[in-house]
Amino acid sequence: MSATQALYIEGIGFWASSLPGWEAARAILRGEAAPPATPQTRPAPALLPPAERRRAPDTVAVSLEVATRACEMAKRDPKQMSSVFASTHGDLAISDNLCDTLAKTPSLTSPTKFHNSVHNAAAGYWTIATGCMKPYTSLSAYTFTFGEGLLEAASQALSEGDPVLYVAFDIEARGPVGTMQPSRGVFAGALVLCAEPGERSMAKLAFDLSDSDHAQPSQARAANAALVEGNAIANGLPLFEALADGVERLVVQPLAPHLNLRMQVTPVVTASTVAQSRIQRA
């Protein structure tokens, strides 16, 4: 349904309750290491000063952590990158707290809770923390959020020619909102995407749009899928699994009931990736 276009991944950030950080996640997803015995609650993003780190909502903590790691790996200055933040539900914990206050004592609504409740809070904090004046966006597409967000990031990278940071996240639901949106655990992934291959390219993504008669959405291996099961944006895992495996693979990400983003993921071997894998072996 659309011509094939290509872009390149230069950096990866990842954090989930049972896959804490990309290094750990890569080994666990490959079956080379066991997941932590007890799932972790959230990371401590180094980007924020200690006091703010503790106060930051979960959505802000996880998205800033993965965004920072992806930029570090790509050796890209966050100030120079537009960003796309995708989250199915935004901050479900703050929504619960805010709706509870609004139902009982609306005049006691907290100004901080209110401004942290907006869907673009994580993106706003990211640009404030990094001093980035490039545009960001924040979007949702319900069960298709991961794919639609990735498509928007790809579309920005290709149409403007500058690298783009993609961040996707959802957190655990609390309270009555969880009866409608029972999201579990934390899942956050980030990618630095470029239109052109470069020294830091790790993988090529050749993608097109395809109707669902031609491909079914990819599933992660059962043992891996179980580690993020129930999270609202967990269907983003197959792409990270393919990147962890480091072999060429077709990843099909759903965009709508009858529309898929079909991505041929091909590892790129460069001087720096060879050096990186030597370090990892050592």
Binding site: C99, P106, F114, H115, V118, P135, S140, P176, A256, H258
Partner: protein
């Protein structure tokens, strides 16, 4: 790569000042405000609001009833105006339902329904039965509902960047079309009154107890409103065009603009650059002009330094209230009406202009040739988007 001009094949907006283009234009010409005292919340809150009461007696039609909530009702009311449903039907048949992308903006979507669930919790902590519809209690409720209402099957995204949401849908759709990922796009946005925004902005001490007075030195804050608006974008066609856009971030504060308006300036300059125009080519600017102390001061200074005296500028929030995530599309439609009618609204409720205002910002309505128009949306979280429209070029 600069933006390719896109044709605005159809457009519409509905808000407290008027439902559909004709009613909105009449209210603007007659300087008739849609604002009234807050009777929306049971808990008292002394403020004025732009409420579209018509939707309260207009439930969704039977095939769409699953999506019932205030926000989707306003979306449906908006879609039925100005021949918009028919224009989308023609585009759907021409390009195919999977090739017309849907990109909508909102700040709170149907959170009003979630708030109602919390007010009416059953003894075991559940929403009442009729509210147990999961896809309604999430941000993309708007996109999912409109996609079904329009019979579209392609890309469908809900953008939620607070007050810039339904301006940013234009650049997102333009990129999708430029890359051949869609052949046409329905863009727009819907936001409705709810407790979250009324009591949230009240907690931030940003709401006014009187109808908002943009750029008045005695302004006391914003009046919240609600609106729905839509536009159909195609690659070629007659009528007005999207000539440029600019997007930027303030990188300053979650709920306060950059003190020198650096992000806003960057967005204006990006829009002019993409359109290949200079400030003197812009005849009318629809300002963000919320009547908050900071926004208006910063925006007035930007307009005074960037634009010549010949450019008219105004805020129309005295008519409509601040429609938050729907403000971008509502004010894009008002800008398109200015282009089409040679009519430039002034600023309502404002008695005198702040000392930071240059000669561009006008209180009175004006008439005259309008070649190009700009619409500013500067949001919470420091997200800015500026749109630039003009007549079809040869």
């Amino acid at each position: 790569m600069s933006a390719v001009p896109l044709s605005i094949a159809a457009y519409t907006a509905s808000c407290a000042a008027g439902i559909g283009r004709r009613a909105l234009l009449e209210a603007l010409r007659a300087r008739r405000s849609g604002l009234g005292p807050n009777t929306f919340t049971e808990a008292p809150l002394d403020t004025f609001i732009g409420r579209v009461s018509a939707i309260e007696s207009q439930p969704l039609p039977e095939p769409l009833q699953y999506w019932e909530c205030r926000n989707n009702r306003l979306a449906w009311l908006g879609l039925q105006q100005d021949g918009f449903l028919e224009a989308v039907r023609v585009a759907r048949e021409k390009y195919g339902p999977g090739r017309v992308a849907l990109v909508l903006g909102t700040s709170t979507s149907s959170i009003g329904a979630t708030e109602e669930g919390y007010r009416r919790l059953t003894s075991d902590g559940q929403y009442p039965e009729e509210l147990r519809r999961p896809p309604v209690h999430t941000v993309h409720s708007l996109g999912s509902f409109v996609q079904q209402a329009l019979g579209l099957t392609g890309i469908s995204v809900t953008v939620a960047t607070a007050c810039s949401s339904s301006a940013k849908v234009f650049p997102q759709a333009e990129r999708l079309m430029r890359l051949g990922l869609a052949d046409a796009a329905v863009v727009g946005g819907v936001d409705t009154l709810c407790y979250s925004v009324l009591f949230g902005f009240n907690a931030l001490e940003l709401v006014s107890a009187e109808p908002c007075r943009p750029f008045d030195p005695a302004r006391k804050g914003i009046s919240l409103g609600e609106a729905a608006g839509f536009a159909l974008l195609e690659r070629a066609g007659e009528g007005p065009q999207l000539l440029g856009y600019g997007e930027s971030s303030d990188a300053h504060h979650m709920s306060s603009p950059h003190p020198e308006g650096l992000g806003a300036r960057n967005a204006i300059q990006d829009a002019l650059h993409r359109a290949g125009l200079t400030p003197s080519d812009i005849d009318y600017v629809n300002l963000h002009g919320t009547a908050s102390q900071k926004n208006d001061e910063v925006e007035a200074r930007i307009v005074a330094t960037l634009f010549p005296e010949s450019t008219r500028a105004s805020s129309t929030k005295g008519w409509t209230g601040h429609a938050l995530g729907a403000a971008g599309i509502l004010e894009a439609v008002i800008s398109l009406l200015a282009l089409e009618q040679g009519f430039m609204p002034g600023t309502l409720n404002t008695r005198e202009l702040d000392e930071h205002c240059g000669p561009q910002i006008r209180l009175e309505n004006g008439e005259g040739p309008v070649r190009n128009v700009m619409s500013n949306s500067f949001g919470f979280g420091g997200s800015n988007c500026v749109l630039l429209f003009g007549g079809a070029r040869q």
